[in-house]
């Protein structure tokens, strides 16, 4: 009788250990998935200055920085301007460079020299920045 009880208790302990092992595996799997989501989730960054460029931001804009194949792409969606970089910081710095480049390029060609899409892009940019006098 005592032997049977001991065998049952042992069996129960073994089942419990197996359940714990399965749970442990599941937790590790979930942790890995959360880490992956954290890496691939887009980051929204408010941009409040274009310094040291001689441009003034009339209102801040939000840049969306997301990983793409081991690099990062930062986008200013309202103006359809994007830039790439090896890190989030580099992508953001490159985006600022591209915003200034867009303004300079488009103002240089305005007055009949822009396609419809770029005319709209310039209109949007004018809502956000102007050159310091």
């Amino acid at each position: 009788m005592a032997m049977t009880r001991l065998a049952d208790a042992l069996l129960e302990r073994l089942r419990e250990a197996a359940r714990l092992e399965a749970l442990e595996k599941e937790v590790l799997l979930l942790k890995a998935r959360v880490a992956q989501l954290e890496i691939s989730a887009p980051v929204i960054v408010p941009v409040e200055t274009l310094a040291p460029e001689p441009y003034q931001l009339l209102k801040p804009f939000h840049a969306v920085v997301q990983p793409v194949d081991g690099e990062y792409v930062a986008s200013f969606y309202d103006a359809n301007i994007s830039a790439s970089g090896g890190t989030q910081e580099e992508a953001l710095a490159n985006l600022k460079d591209m915003v200034v480049a867009a303004y300079e390029t488009l103002t240089e060609h305005e007055g009949g020299g822009l396609g419809r899409g770029l005319e709209k892009q310039l209109q949007v940019l004018r809502e956000f920045l102007r050159r310091r006098s």
């Binding site: 359809n80 460079d97 396609g115």
Partner: protein, 92 residues
Amino acid sequence: MPHITKELAQKIAKKLGARIVDCSGKAHDRALVFHGGRLIAWFGIRRGSGRDLGHDHVPKQIHVHPRQARLLGQCPLERDDWIAILTEKGIL
């Protein structure tokens, strides 16, 4: 490895007949694409020396899917096909 490398971005610029504006002291040179005497698209080409530098921002700048951008650089898609895509999207 990025979808669009610097080398591919340069090929896309060439395919679209872009005028390259050298911007020393800046992070990017500019590729300007004209059609009918108007500037219709532009994108930045990073000035770093690596041929594999990421340029995954280019498809958005030229209003196409990354796959179409790759096709532009790799040959099957021609400038006229791209102009047709932009016309269809109401961008021209």
